[in-house]
Amino acid sequence: MSSQVPSDLLYAKSHEWARVENGIATVGITDHAQHELTDIVFVELPAKGRQVKSGEACAVVESVKTASDIYSPVSGEVIETNPAVIQDPSLVNSDPYATGWFFKVRLSSAEAPGDLLTPQAYAAQIGA
């Protein structure tokens, strides 16, 4: 089954997505990642106020098969986390780009992060 790669997002090689609007990035994991992980049963998110750097492990997801670190695709301050995925981790499987988001980061730089992949480049990486 082919994974969805929405055209309005940026992507990290490690399978996180970022939606950047007005200096704030909303972060989650991709459809491809949730497929690979299978049924997600636990999510741990960074504390609000934490400073994260691009590429830094700052969250954890566990599926029925494995536990994986999640890396922030951007640098900045965590300003909001999604309580819904803590309560119902299966949202990450069913709706990875909307209600299954993980956290929001106020970017430390006003410019959009330049080292993330375009949708086309990420699709090529995963063979979608």
Binding site: E36, V41, F42, V60, S63, V64, K65, A67, S68
Partner: protein
């Protein structure tokens, strides 16, 4: 008959390595798991956390009745709690075995080449146990990648089974040993050349790969694209 979720008593535990524990889950009285096979996995959860489930390959075989054995690495909340805390007398809920990572014992005469990384070796203990106990003519070769000799799970049991069963071979490769370490076995990562060196009759060979997605996909690529074998000759179990 519908498969039944059952609360099971931890009959015994065995610390295989400092971060790996085998847990033996006793079937309750009257428990009927239905038909289950070597190589399948069970899903477990704590009585107080029914939504938090983890799946583990059986490290026992389909011939082992009365209890399931799973061998768990300290990984995530469940792996950590099992390795650090679970003891005989505790209870876990168990969803009965399922899965298609099954050894091809029928028809006879196959050669199963089983490639494992880390705790991905656990289902292969069941494969070898069953083949040995049934005195099958199936050949099994386990190719096992670990970081160091301290990370080899089931070393003693596989070594003993190798003596008992002349059709079983166990080969380890260590990826991160210090040069001065006295290990005389293979060093370095799993390579296509090493795996290919164990194939004598491709048509009779079935490959199994259990471990990280990256490792499993590299074996899959070797078997399907380089060796041009069929999908039926490649069976995978990814950790995610």
């Amino acid at each position: 008959m519908a498969k039944v979720i059952a609360e099971m008593l931890v009959e015994s535990v065995k610390l295989e390595l400092p971060d790996v524990k085998t847990v033996r889950l006793q079937w309750p009285e009257g428990y009927d798991p239905g038909e289950f096979k070597t190589g399948q996995f069970i899903t477990v959860y704590w009585p107080h956390k029914p939504k938090y489930k983890r799946a583990y390959s059986l490290s026992s075989s389909g011939l082992d009745r009365g209890a399931y054995e799973v061998t768990v690495k300290r990984d995530g909340k469940m792996g950590t709690s099992i390795v650090d805390w679970v003891d005989a007398g505790d209870k876990l809920f168990v969803i009965p075995p399922t899965g298609r990572f099954l050894p091809v014992f029928d028809p006879p005469g196959k050669h199963l080449i089983c490639v494992a990384g880390g705790s991905g070796v656990t289902p292969f203990r069941g494969f070898v146990r069953e083949a040995t106990r049934r005195n099958l003519d199936t050949r099994i070769t386990v190719l096992y990648s670990v970081r160091t000799t301290q990370d080899i799970i089931f070393f003693d049991e596989f070594t003993a089974l190798e003596k008992e069963n002349p059709r079983f071979k166990f080969h380890v490769t260590c990826t991160r040993l210090a040069p001065e370490h006295p290990w005389t076995g293979r060093r370095g990562r799993l390579s296509p050349e090493w795996i290919k060196s164990f194939i004598d009759d491709p048509a009779q060979t079935v490959f199994y790969a259990c471990g990280t997605n990256e490792m499993v996909e590299s074996v899959e690529h070797l078997v399907l694209h380089d060796l041009h074998l069929t999908k039926e000759q490649m069976k995978t179990e990814k950790w995610g």
